[in-house]
Amino acid sequence: MSVATRPQLSHLRALESEAIHVMREVAAEFERPVLLFSGGKDSIVLLRLAEKAFRPAPFPFPLMHVDTGHNFPEVIEYRDRRVAELGERLIVASVQDSIDQGRVVEEKGPRASRNKLQTVTLLDAIAEHGFDAAFGGARRDEERARAKERVFSFRDDFGQWDPKNQRPELWNLYNGRIHKGEHVRVFPLSNWTELDVWEYIDQEQLEIPSIYFAHERQVFERDDMLYAFWEGTELLDGEQTFTETVRYRTVGDMSCTGGVRSLAATLEEVVLEIASTRITERGETRADDRVSEAAMEDRKKAGYF
């Protein structure tokens, strides 16, 4: 077989270029986009891609974090520092406010989580600010309902996703037309895998919150997962806390994100560990996906990230 006459872009450069193209399409076709920034690794990559797409100008959209109030403090500290470095505007939509206003009712008991409540806070914030497009860091390799989602994922005026009635998405031609009250979730990292994200963070030498690296933490074990022990924890009978060296593969609420036993303390070590892992990141660390065979599908239909 013949050899290519010109050098090909590496797969990371090809994915990067595709994502930058998606971001510029959104900036050009929507009036009020927003970028959802959680301080997690995927949205950290989104910020770098936004720099690549729009510098030397400011981003043509604000950033928004849906803050459950149960985030890891290391992540909130990182979030604020990163936003200040970039000189961009951050909106914080607070689940606590939604609870105080009676929009949602807090779950009770040792297994309570604010994960589901975020959806209401997110949709309220989108409506309040009149956002018509919201960038998210979701990837298709994460979960099987996401494998079927479009890059431009249409949401009706109730914020809902209808998986059986999605717009066909051809070539790199994205249809950004919507009616007032509807919006589009846009996923520039759709075609990235978890390993791609880590390799990109390594390539770009991006700073990430410290919880992604091995550290000592007081934890307890539940359903084969290691959860952080914090002031909101209610232990069940027989559960005990102990100190373990862990790191996190995903950043979510302290109440539903498990850590993994790991000694990976540098980016290179994390990349190596991810490359050889035998368990998906959501399967290993997210209690919210274990509820049923179609847990993510149900939450997405309701308007989740």
Partner: protein, 442 residues
């Protein structure tokens, strides 16, 4: 790490074992994680299977699909070997879901067409091969599956190769000859023969198993960078218009004067200092600089995203196309295109749609429907009154604003468009501009 990316689409009827094949590729190439496997094992058991792992369940995403045992929508799968990163567009084969097949094929370099060795080259396989050819996929690998059910018969395999090759000859020929390479692999996705490993049950087959074929197929000539340069302007960067923001490497004074034209190079290469034309207006200038966040470049290659600075201060906006003056594409308001219709509401002559092409949109009127393609015979038949859902036909369009375009056969990026319903906003059609455009009144 300089792995390249290969995108392929699978096409097959529900019963051809397409999901099983993909499941087998992922499973045998060790891309299935333990928790996914546990889920599949659980689901296989619940559905009362034979006790064997049902690999098709690995790829069935939505609840309705698992309940009905079908695939509703295009799903994207990712895996890598030491040689390549792969993206699979897994497309359903029901007749009513052909629009998804077209969707998956639009970004693919390679098509894997499945044939059930017992049933032969049925209409469904032909439809998928035809759609792949129409969408400009130059390589087709025909997986002759379920060979275990025909006793791994070499005669049956050769019979099917001959039958499909007859059809492929028709795809290559006709009014607009196309280059389509075809390869054939005898296979049992269920048992894993010739998927990742070769098979002792087909000693008469000396080709590679599917995964090896996918790792080796050369798609370089189909990559867009050997062609004339096409740079659709997506976005104009003018920091002076925005609020102050720190920008690495650019001081405040420089930033105020900055004006750059951003986009993704659709094909070819651009170099600093070269003369370029800006279409549709046709003004000429030179490239003053090629900027990326990672620094300035002397030369840019497709498909990079980049920002161009130009020597002259021209009126350039989103939707304009930058190219070399001696390799300019057609600029016209009228052209013919093959349109795949994707909506329940049929396409009729006289109707108007929003047409999105590269980075801009215009209103388009359907002046005429010239013919519709019978996908079974590949014949273009008499002009119908309308194009129905899943029909593919030649349509004559007229746009309000002039478009700078190439025939789809020479450039997938500048030769493709989508049609959008003006009221409902749905994507209703996919268009490929024909070889010999009618160039009138630019």
């Amino acid at each position: 790490m300089t792995l390249d990316l290969l995108r392929f689409t699978t096409a097959g009827s529900v019963d051809d074992g397409k999901s099983t094949l993909i499941g087998r590729l992922l499973y045998d190439s060790k891309q299935v994680f333990e928790d996914q496997l546990a889920q599949v094992a659980q689901a296989s058991e619940r559905r009362g299977g034979s006790g064997a792992l049902d690999l098709a369940l690995l790829t069935d995403g939505l609840r309705a699909e698992r309940e009905q045992g079908i695939t509703i929508d295009v799903a994207y799968r990712y895996f890598a070997t030491a040689r390549r990163r792969f993206i699979i567009a897994d497309c359903p084969g029901h007749r009513q879901y052909t629009r998804n097949m077209v969707t998956g094929a639009s970004t693919a370099d390679v098509a894997v067409v499945l044939i059930d060795a017992r049933n032969g080259v049925v209409e469904q396989s032909k439809r998928h091969a035809f759609v792949s050819a129409l969408l400009g996929i130059p390589h087709m690998v025909v997986a002759i599956n379920k060979m275990d059910l025909v006793g791994f018969s070499r005669e049956r395999y050769e019979e099917l190769v001959e039958e499909f090759e007859g059809f492929a000859r028709k795809l290559r020929g006709g009014k607009n000859p196309r280059r389509i390479d075809t390869s054939y692999i005898p296979m049992s996705a269920l048992d894993g023969d010739n998927v990742v490993e070769g098979s002792p049950r087909t000693p008469w087959y000396d080709g590679p198993p599917l995964l090896e074929w996918l790792e080796q197929v050369d798609v370089a000539y189909d990559h867009p960078d050997g062609r004339p340069a096409r740079f659709p302007v997506q976005w104009v960067i003018r920091p002076a218009n925005g609020a102050a923001a720190p920008a690495a490497g650019v001081d405040a004074g420089e930033r105020l004067d900055y004006r750059g034209y951003s986009g993704q190079l659709a094909s070819g290469a651009l170099r600093v200092g070269e003369e370029v034309a800006v279409l549709p207006a046709g003004a000429r200038t030179r490239i003053a600089g090629i900027d990326t966040y990672d620094g300035e470049l002397e030369e840019a290659l497709a498909p990079m995203s980049l920002t161009l600075r130009l020597e002259d201060d021209l009126d350039i906006s989103r939707g304009d196309l930058i190219c070399h003056p001696d390799e300019a594409p057609a600029v016209a308001r009228e052209f013919e295109a093959d349109v795949c219709w994707m909506a329940e509401q049929p396409l009729r002559a006289g109707a108007r749609y929003v047409l999105k092409h590269t980075s801009h949109s215009s209103i388009a009127a359907v002046d005429a429907i010239e013919d519709v393609i019978d996908v079974h015979t590949l014949a273009r038949v008499e002009p119908p009154a309308q194009l129905e859902l899943n029909d593919i036909g030649r349509v004559r369009l007229r746009t309000r604003a002039p478009l700078a375009f190439d025939p789809y056969a020479s450039n997938r990026r500048t030769g493709s468009f989508i049609l959008i319903d003006q009221d409902g906003n749905g994507t209703v059609g996919a268009g490929m501009i024909a070889q010999t455009p009618v160039v009138l009144g630019a």
